[in-house]
Symmetry: C2
Subunit: 243 residues, 2 copies
DNA sequence: TGACACCAATCTGTGCAGGCATAAAAATAA
DNA sequence: TTATTTTTATGCCTGCACAGATTGGTGTCA
């Protein structure tokens, strides 16, 4: 048993709700769970509290534990993202995250050029140099890890904690992209050059240049992976009716 | 007692941790809480689970409940945002959210122009017309509510659930701005025109126009409220050392 | 003497079982 | 329809046993 009991219950219920095995509107009784999962009430209750925090369920007296629909799920919760990536909503989740990346990273580069501490600027230069090296060599494994470090570092160097916090899901996207074989055999020269230009612009406090070059990276990234989700339907929730 | 017991404990501890009354690294014992807050273990434990989910604490055997630092807090959790807005980090929180808005809303407008359902396009036109009306009249209360509906609807019309989910904190920003008297007596003509242009561009499926006009709104918005946080220090967390 | 590995005591969260209180849905009566 | 009672599942409390991490002591060896 790797982790705690209640974490298992969270995982069990959360993954099933997100992938649709337990549809929206279902009513679960704590007593049923107690019997089915062979755990005590306290474990169930703590798990339900956590799931309620992610917006997956609500628990009300006399009715039980009601499963909520996707509009209520917290799309920034790391567990919810993980579960969605492992479900049929994988495409929609990748699209949302990528669109968010495309929006945020150019701004992050701009802010990094303005505010990043010296050490981070230097590290970005170093990483981009290594990306050039291993990229030209065709060492995709090393390149991937450097790519992840690069983008996460730009996000952190923006000094915006909301940006920095996107590091984990963005790393997941980048890993997924190479695992799925969506990367070319060796990175394009342009892409290498853009990464280096971003690092140099940030080093030279050139906010506009940093933004422009990051935008170029984002455009190419988008083109490379948007095929993953052409099927996935978009979800429109009218904010008036929601609450 | 308005809400549930454990929600009170979450509120009590969460607000105190975020505003610094309980500093990073503090060790809290469940038994102490039980005595101090006069609630039972089960309540404490469920509250701690929720707080752990937000990244405010970790709970380990033999040591107790350890309070974590701001790098660990989930900056997208609505409660964390609320607590931060009510604390001395208010400026930093406003800045983060505004930078995120500036990044996201132009893209949201672009996507809305491409994908929004007809009903939402029409409603945007309606709202922008009403904004013109009440704006010119100087009815700031009505204007504020329309402004909120407008921006939240654009986010929803993007069909990106991560964008749509930013509605609540963005509404909080907009409300805060007028409550603090940062709005001019009556909205600028330019701002009214830009909102209308966004709505029209989206109606005409003009993605680029929607983006450009929304960018104009964002630029002005930023200039109007960036004075709120010139003091607040940026936080840079090296992603390598974090974990 | 001092460094290091090993073991036992202790402390605190984790999980279990069962009890009563309470709120809200459903059934019943007016 | 409206008001009242009944039903029932969660909310909350408590006592107990267990697991695992820290701490300190013990013994061995250099």
């Amino acid at each position: 048993m790797a982790t705690s009991l209640h974490a298992h219950v969270v995982e069990h219920l959360g993954s099933r709700i997100v992938n649709g095995q337990i549809p929206r509107g279902s009513i679960i009784l704590a007593a049923e769970l107690e019997a089915k999962l062979q755990v005590s009430r306290s474990v169930i209750r703590e798990a339900v509290r956590v799931l309620a925090q992610c917006g997956l369920v609500t628990s009300t007296k006399r009715v039980g534990i009601r499963v909520l629909g996707p509009e209520e799920w917290n799309p920034y919760d790391t567990q919810v993202i993980r579960w969605r990536l492992a479900s049929e909503q994988r495409g929609a989740q990748l699209r949302s995250l990528t669109e968010l990346r495309i929006s945020v990273e150019p701004m992050a580069a701009e802010l990094a050029a303005e505010f990043a501490p010296e050490a981070m600027r230097k590290e970005l230069l170093l990483i981009s140099a290594q990306m050039n090296h291993y990229g030209r060599q065709g060492d995709l494994r090393r390149f991937l890890e450097l790519d992840i470090r690069f983008h996460c570092l730009v996000l952190a160097a923006s000094g915006n904690e909301m940006f920095a916090n996107l590091a984990t899901p963005i790393a997941a996207i980048l890993r997924g992209r190479t695992e799925l074989g969506l990367m070319p055999e060796r990175p394009h020269e342009e892409a290498l050059a853009w990464h280096q230009s971003v690092a140099e612009s940030i080093s030279h406090l050139d906010a506009l240049g940093a933004r422009r070059n990051m935008e170029s990276i984002m455009r190419r990234t988008h083109n490379e992976i948007c095929s993953l989700w052409d099927g996935a339907p978009r979800v429109f929730v009218d904010p008036n009716t929601k609450k």
